[in-house]
Point group: C2
Amino acid sequence: MCSIKDVAKHANVSVTTVSRVLNDFPNISAKTRQKVLDSITALDYHPDYMARSLSKQQSLIIGVIIPDCSHPFFAELVKHIEMTAENNGYKILLCNSLNDEKKERSYINMLKEKRVAGIIMGSHLINTDFYQSIHRPIITFDRYLGDNIPYIGSDNFTGGQLATQHLIDSGCKSLLHISGSHQLHTQANKRSDGFKITCIENDINYQILEYQYAQLTFDYYYEYIKTTVSPLLSEIDGVFCSNDILAYALYVYCTNHDISVPKTLKIVGYDYCQFTRLLQHPRITTIAQPIPIIGELLSKNIIQMIEDGETHNVYSQTLGVKLVKGITT
Amino acid sequence: MCSIKDVAKHANVSVTTVSRVLNDFPNISAKTRQKVLDSITALDYHPDYMARSLSKQQSLIIGVIIPDCSHPFFAELVKHIEMTAENNGYKILLCNSLNDEKKERSYINMLKEKRVAGIIMGSHLINTDFYQSIHRPIITFDRYLGDNIPYIGSDNFTGGQLATQHLIDSGCKSLLHISGSHQLHTQANKRSDGFKITCIENDINYQILEYQYAQLTFDYYYEYIKTTVSPLLSEIDGVFCSNDILAYALYVYCTNHDISVPKTLKIVGYDYCQFTRLLQHPRITTIAQPIPIIGELLSKNIIQMIEDGETHNVYSQTLGVKLVKGITT
DNA sequence: CTGAAAGCGCTTACAG
DNA sequence: CTGAAAGCGCTTACAG
C-alpha cells in the first residue's frame, strides 16, 4: 500500500501537486498531470479514505437505522436508499435496532464520533427530545421529531381513508382497525385518523386496537390475533390492518378457523411490499406506499442536508398512496 | 464538537494522558483518571473515529457485498451478519451489486482505500483471478476463490442429494433440476452434482437447466419458466429448484396452467428463507439452509482474519442442511 | 505515573 | 503553474 508521498517521489513532484491532480484542480500543466497520472497507475495508488476524511472533515457515509432489515418493507427501503446513495458517491452503514432503545442511541452516537455524515432514522423508540441535542443532519422515515428534522413518508391519512372507504363501499357495516402503538408519535398514526374520520362520516361502527412494537414478525402478529383480535371477530365484517404481514396473518387465521374471506370478513393491508406483491394466494387488498421513491428521497435529502450544511432547505415530504385491489375485499 | 485537546486543557493534563484514559491504559493514577473522565462528560466529548482509524491504521468497518438486500434470502443473511458484527464492535457497509460486475469491482476498491477492514463477498460475477491481487481479508458466501480465501456455505451437495432422494422416494420417475448458471464456480453448483449422482444411483431419467444470473425476481423466474421450462413439463414428474422463489414461481405457473401439484408434478426448493417460512399456500417442500449461522460465521471469521492479520487460521466451513416437508411433494 | 514530539496520509491556505 | 509547511484529531514510541 503506497501513499501520496510515494507517488510524489515517483513522479518527481510535490505532494501538493499529486493532491491537486487527485482532486482535479484546474491549474496544472498537462505534462505534470500526465506524469502524476502515470505514477498513480504504475504504483496502483489509491488515496486513503480515512486520511482524506480527516483532513477534509467530512465523511461520505450515511448511517441508516431501521428496526430490522429482514422485514420485507425495510429490506426494500434499504435497497433504494443504498442505490441512491451510491449514485451520489455515498455509502451506507446499516444498523438494525431490533426495536431496542439502547441500540438506537448507540447507533446515533456514530454522528458524534463523526463516523457518518448524517443519519436516516427509520426506527422510532427514542423520545423526541434526545434528537434536539444532536444538531447534525438527520432525516426520518414517517416520524415528526421537530421542525428542524424533516421526514419523508407516505400520505398516511389518505391511505387510511382509502382503505376504510373501500371497505365501506364493499358493503362493510362494522369495522376494526389494527394499528401499531400510538405512543410513538409516528406519521403512521394518521392512518388511524383517516380510518376514524371515514367511519364517522359514513356513520359506521368502528373499533381500534393497538399492538405493541416488538418483533414485527408473522408469528407475533398471529399470536396477537389469536389472543386479542379473535374475540371481536364475530361483531365485525371488515378490518384495516396497519401492514401487510399483519393482514396476511389475519387471513391465515381466518382460513384456519373457517371464517370466509372476503365473504364474512374483508381485509385491507398497508405497504404493498415485495412479500405482498409476490403473494398469489391470496392477493391481499392493500394500500401501496411508493417504497422506491421514499428510499430515494430519504437518500437525496440527507445528502443535500449534509452538503448544504443547513437544514432549512429540506422540507418534509408526503407521498401519494393508492389502493391495490386484491381478493380479500 | 470538541477535540482531545480541549479535554486535556479542561483537565489540566497532556493530550497523551487523555488518550491513555480513553484507551484504558493501566498506569494512570486514579485521581488523574477521574479528572479526565469528569472533563470528558463535562464537555460531552466523543473521540473522532476517523482520526483514531488513521493513526491506528485500522477501520472497524466490514464491507458486505451482495446482489440485492431486498431478496429475502440476503435480507436475512445481512441481518445476522450485522448483528454479529455489532456485538463485536464492528459496523457494516452494505453494498448491493445488483449483479453488475462493475459495481462489484468498485465496491471491492473500498479495501484499497482502507475504507473497510475486510469484505464479506456474497456476489459472484468477478472472475477468480481478480481477488488474488488484493491481499486483504475477504471471506465469501458459497464460492471458492482460492486456498487463501475461505468461504462459508451450506452443504450444497448433501442438499442436492436430499432433495433428489426425496423426489424419488415420493415416486418420481423423471426429474428436472433448474439451476443457477454453472459458469461461476460457486459452491451452489454442488447441488447439481448431488442431484445428478442421486439420479444415476437410482437409475432415474434427469435433465438440468441453467438460468442466467440477472434479477433474482419472481417475474424473471416466471418468464423463464414460461419460455424455457414449460416445454419440458410434460416429460417430467419432479423438479428440484435451486431456490424457493423459483420453486414458488413454478408452483404458480402450474396452478395457472392446470398442472396439479404435487399429483402430476412434485416440486422441491432450496433456502427456506423468511418468504418461504411465511408462505402458507402452499407450504413448499425445500432444503433449509441455516441462514442465521451462516451470517454469524461470516462475520466472526472475517473479524478474526482482520484481527489476526493472517488468513491461515480461518477455514472454510460447510454447514448442515435439512429437508423441510411441505405440500408440494 | 506523565508529557513533548513525531507520525498516520491526506488537504489547503500561503508564497513565489 | 508549483512547492513548503501547517493542520485535521488521534496514537505511540521515547524520555524522564
